[in-house]
C-alpha cells in the first residue's frame, strides 16, 4: 500500500498541569507516531490552559487515529487540525550567534537588515540576531548565514494559527 503521507499541524488546548506534556509526547512515542516539531506554552493564566502545537505526518488513517487518541487524554480540552482549515499561518523563531571577529561589521549589519532579522546583542566578537518566519524561511536564513561563523543557534517549534474567523475554542 502506498497511501500518501502528509504533514499536519495539530493545535491542542490542554490543562497546564504537571505531566500533561509527557502524556502527549508519551502517546506519540508509545504508539510510534512521529513528532516533527513541538511547541508549548501557557496561553490562559486565569484558566491554566496551555496551547500545544505538534507537527506530525502520516496517512489519513494514522492522522485520524492520532487525533482520536489525543482527544481521549483527560487534560485535553480541544484539538484542531490547522492544516485542514482553509488557510493558516505557521511561524518559528530563531536566535543565532555569529562570530564577527574576522568580518566587516558594516557588511554584516547591511546583510542582516536586508534579510529582515533583528539584532539583539552585539560586541566586538559576536552578534546575536533574531528572526521569525516560516520553517522554510528559517532554513533559508541558516543557509545564507553560513558565510559567517555560526557559533550556535536555537529555533523554536512551530506556532500556528488559522487565518480568518476560524480559531481553537477553549
Amino acid at each position: 500500500m502506498t497511501e500518501s503521507h502528509s504533514k499536519h499541524i495539530l493545535s491542542i488546548m490542554v490543562d497546564n498541569e504537571p505531566g500533561v506534556l509527557a502524556r502527549i509526547v508519551g502517546l506519540f512515542s508509545g504508539r510510534g507516531y512521529n513528532i516533527e516539531s513541538l511547541s508549548v506554552s501557557e496561553v490562559d493564566s486565569d484558566r491554566f490552559l496551555s496551547r500545544v502545537t505538534v507537527v506530525t505526518s502520516g496517512t489519513k488513517n494514522i492522522i485520524d487515529q492520532i487525533k482520536a487518541q489525543v482527544r481521549k487524554l483527560i487534560p485535553v480540552h480541544n484539538l484542531i487540525d490547522i492544516t485542514e482549515l482553509k488557510s493558516f499561518i505557521g511561524k518559528e523563531l530563531i536566535l543565532m550567534k555569529l562570530d564577527i571577529k574576522q568580518k566587516s561589521v558594516l557588511n554584516i549589519h547591511k546583510h542582516i537588515k536586508n534579510i529582515g532579522a533583528k539584532i539583539l546583542f552585539e560586541d566586538k566578537t559576536v552578534i546575536i540576531i533574531e528572526f521569525s518566519g516560516t520553517p522554510n524561511e528559517i532554513s533559508g536564513l541558516i543557509k545564507k548565514m553560513k558565510v559567517y561563523n555560526i557559533v550556535e543557534l536555537t529555533r523554536s517549534g512551530l506556532v500556528s494559527m488559522a487565518l480568518g474567523k476560524d480559531y481553537i475554542r477553549r
Partner: protein, 586 residues
C-alpha cells in the same frame, strides 16, 4: 462548620461516598496513615492479598462481575510497581479500577528515597488517567474524579498517587457533593439520529448479515444486553461474540454461532468472511479477530458501534460508525424500527442461514475422545453440563485451557465470564476469582486454569484461606505451557524450547497445605464424580485434572492467515509455509 480531616481520613470518607464496600490491598510504609484510618472504621472491608498484582486482578474480577468500580490500595515503590501488569490488563480489557498508591512525602520526591518509584510516570501509558496529589486541597477532587473517569466513557483504570505527608495534612472535606469540578470529563454518549437511520437502512438491505459482538456490550450494562437480545430476535440475524463479549447475549441461543477469531468456530469465521454486512458492537477489530487484515471480510459493508472514537478505523476501515453508549444506540435503533414499523423478512436471509448451517454441520469443535485419557475438551464439556444450571462465574488463566473454556462453556448471562483478553495475563484467573467470590459469596465461582498459569499467582491460596473463599480451581494439567507448545509444533519445527512444566507441585497436597480440598482425576470415567464432589464441597477446592499432554486447540487461524484459512484439526496441514509476515506476528 465542617471539621478538618486528615488526608488519610478523607481518602476513606471519599471511598465511602463512592459507595465502595471492598478494597483489595497490601500495606506498607507509605500508606500506613490510610491503613490506620481503615482500622478505625467498619464500612469498607479490606481484603489482604499476597501480591499487589493479585490485588488489581481481584479488583478486576470484582468490577467485571458487578459492574462497579474495583478498588486497590498499595504502598509506594514495589507495592505500586507490582500493580503495573494488573493496571495494563484493566486498560486493555476496559475494566473500571481505581488504584490508590502511597508515595514518599512530597519533599522527598525525586530524591531516590526508600521505596520511591515514579509510579505516575510508569503508569501513564497503562492507565486511563492518573494523579499525583501534591496538595491536600486537591485530594478529594482527585479521588472523586478518579472514580468518575474510571466508570464513564470507555471504562479503565485510574491511579491516584498520594504522598505520605498529604495523608497526614488536614483540610475540610464536605463530601462528594461539595467537591468541585470532579466531573469535568464528559464523553459523548448520545448517538446522532441520522446515523441510526442509516444503520437501520443497512440492516434492512442485507442478505448476509452478521452481528459481531464484543465486551463493550457488557460494559455498557444489562440494558445493552437486553436491547441487543431484542434486536437479534427482531432481525433473526446470526451473532458471533468475541472472547470478551461471551455472555453479552446467551450463548445457548440458536442464533449464536460461536466465538470468532483465532480459535473461533468455523461457522463464525466463515460467516464473517462471506458476510455482506458486519455489525460490530462494542468490539475493536483486534488482531486475534481479524487475522490478516487485508483479507478480512472483503465483501462486507461494516458498521461499528462504540463509545470510544479512537476504536474507529484503527485497523479496519468501516462504512458507518456510530459513536455513543451502546445501550443508547441500541435503544434508539429499536425505537426507530418500532416507530417506522419496519419488519425484517426472514426469507431474505434464509439462504444465508442455510449456508451457515452447512458450515455448522462441520462440527468444528469436534475432537477425538478417549476412554483411557482425559481430553481437556471433554473435561470442560462435563464441567459445563454439570454446573451450567448453577450459572457459575467462570474466570480463566491464559492459554489453551482459556480457549477451550471459551469454546465449550455456555454463558447464559453477561458478567459471568472473566478472562484476560487483551493483555493475555497468565496468573489472572485465581485472583480474579477471589474478587468475584467476594462480590458473590453464595455463588459458584470456578477458575478454569492451566498448571503453568496457576503457579504465577499461586500465593493467593493464602488469601483464599484467610477469607474462606470457596473458589473452585479447575486445573487442566497437561504438563506443558500448552499454547506455547502448540505454536512451537506449528511454527518452530516441534522444538519444544522451555515449554515443558517440570517439577510441578503436588496440587492435592498444595491445596491441603492451604486448608483447601485437593482432588485429582486422570480417568475419563471419574470426571463426573470429581465435578460433583467439587460442587458439593463448601470450601475452596483445587481439582488437578490430568489431561492428554498432547492435545491442541482447534480450530485455529495461523497468524498472518485469513478467516477462510482455518486449521480444523491435527490432521489439517498448513497450506505451504507460514509467511514471514505471519511468523513475526504474536
Amino acid at each position: 462548620m465542617m471539621k478538618k480531616l486528615s488526608g488519610a481520613r478523607i481518602v476513606i470518607e471519599a471511598l465511602i461516598q463512592e459507595n465502595v464496600k471492598v478494597i483489595f490491598g497490601y500495606p506498607g510504609g507509605a500508606v500506613l496513615p490510610i491503613y490506620d484510618e481503615l482500622f478505625k472504621q467498619n464500612k469498607i472491608r479490606h481484603i489482604l492479598v499476597r501480591h499487589e498484582q493479585a490485588a488489581v486482578h481481584a479488583a478486576e474480577g470484582y468490577a467485571r462481575s458487578t459492574g462497579k468500580v474495583g478498588v486497590v490500595l498499595v504502598t509506594s515503590g514495589p507495592g505500586a510497581t507490582n500493580t503495573v501488569t494488573g493496571l495494563t490488563d484493566a486498560m486493555m480489557d476496559s475494566v473500571p479500577v481505581v488504584c490508590i498508591s502511597g508515595q514518599v512525602p512530597t519533599h522527598m520526591i525525586g530524591n531516590d528515597a526508600f521505596q520511591e518509584a515514579d509510579i505516575v510516570g510508569i503508569t501513564r501509558p497503562c492507565t486511563k488517567h492518573n494523579y499525583l496529589v501534591k496538595e491536600i486541597s486537591k485530594l478529594a477532587e482527585s479521588i472523586h474524579s478518579a472514580f468518575h473517569i474510571a466508570k464513564n466513557g470507555r471504562p479503565g483504570p485510574v491511579l491516584v498517587d498520594i504522598p505520605k505527608d498529604i495523608q497526614t495534612f488536614e483540610t475540610k472535606y464536605g463530601g462528594k457533593k461539595h467537591t468541585k469540578s470532579f466531573a469535568f470529563y464528559k464523553p459523548n454518549t448520545k448517538p446522532s439520529l441520522d446515523t441510526i437511520v442509516k444503520f437501520v437502512n443497512l440492516l434492512e438491505k442485507s442478505k448476509k448479515p452478521i452481528f459481531y459482538v464484543g465486551g463493550g456490550v457488557i460494559n455498557s450494562g444489562s440494558r445493552a444486553s437486553l436491547y441487543l437480545k431484542k434486536l437479534l430476535k427482531i432481525t433473526g440475524f446470526p451473532c458471533t461474540q468475541t472472547l470478551m463479549g461471551l455472555g453479552a447475549t446467551p450463548t445457548s441461543d440458536d442464533q449464536f454461532i460461536g466465538m470468532l477469531g483465532m480459535h473461533g468456530t468455523y461457522e463464525a469465521n466463515l460467516s464473517m468472511n462471506k458476510s455482506d454486512l458486519m455489525i460490530c458492537i462494542g468490539a475493536r477489530f483486534d488482531d486475534r479477530i481479524t487475522g490478516k487484515v487485508s483479507g478480512f471480510s472483503p465483501k462486507s459493508k461494516k458498521v461499528h458501534l462504540d463509545i470510544d472514537a479512537s476504536s474507529f478505523n484503527k485497523s479496519v476501515n468501516v462504512d458507518l460508525l456510530i459513536q455513543g453508549d451502546l445501550s443508547k444506540i441500541l435503544e434508539m435503533t429499536l425505537k426507530y424500527i418500532e416507530n417506522k414499523r419496519i419488519s425484517f423478512s426472514k426469507e431474505k436471509i434464509s439462504t444465508w442461514w442455510i449456508q451457515i448451517n452447512k458450515w455448522r454441520a462441520k462440527n468444528c469443535l469436534n475432537y477425538k475422545n478417549s476412554r483411557s485419557i482425559i481430553k481437556p475438551q471433554y473435561a470442560l464439556q462435563r464441567l459445563d453440563f454439570l454446573t451450567n444450571h448453577l450459572d457459575p462465574f467462570i474466570t480463566t488463566e491464559v492459554g489453551q485451557h482459556q480457549m477451550w473454556a471459551a469454546q465449550f462453556l455456555t454463558f447464559n448471562k453477561p458478567k459471568h465470564w472473566m478472562t484476560s483478553g487483551g493483555l493475555g495475563t497468565m496468573g489472572y484467573g485465581l485472583p480474579a476469582a477471589m474478587g468475584v467470590q467476594i462480590a458473590h459469596p453464595k455463588d459458584l465461582v470456578i477458575d478454569v486454569a492451566g498448571e503453568a498459569s496457576i503457579l504465577m499467582n499461586i500465593q493467593e491460596m493464602s488469601t483464599i484461606k484467610q477469607y474462606r473463599l470457596p473458589v473452585k480451581i479447575f486445573i487442566l494439567n497437561n504438563h506443558y505451557m500448552g499454547m506455547v507448545r502448540q505454536w512451537q509444533e506449528l511454527l518452530h519445527g516441534n522444538r519444544l524450547s522451555e515449554s515443558y512444566m517440570d517439577s510441578l507441585p503436588d496440587f492435592v497436597k498444595l491445596a491441603e497445605s492451604f486448608g483447601a480440598t485437593g482432588l485429582r482425576v486422570s480417568k475419563p470415567g471419574e470426571m463426573d464424580d470429581l465435578i460433583k464432589e467439587m460442587i458439593k464441597i463448601k470450601g475452596p477446592v483445587i481439582c488437578d485434572v490430568v489431561v492428554d499432554p498432547k492435545e491442541n486447540c482447534f480450530p485455529m487461524i495461523p497468524s498472518g492467515s485469513t478467516h477462510d484459512q482455518m486449521l480444523l484439526g491435527p490432521n489439517d496441514k498448513l497450506e505451504g509455509e507460514i509467511s514471514e509476515e505471519g511468523m513475526v506476528l504474536v
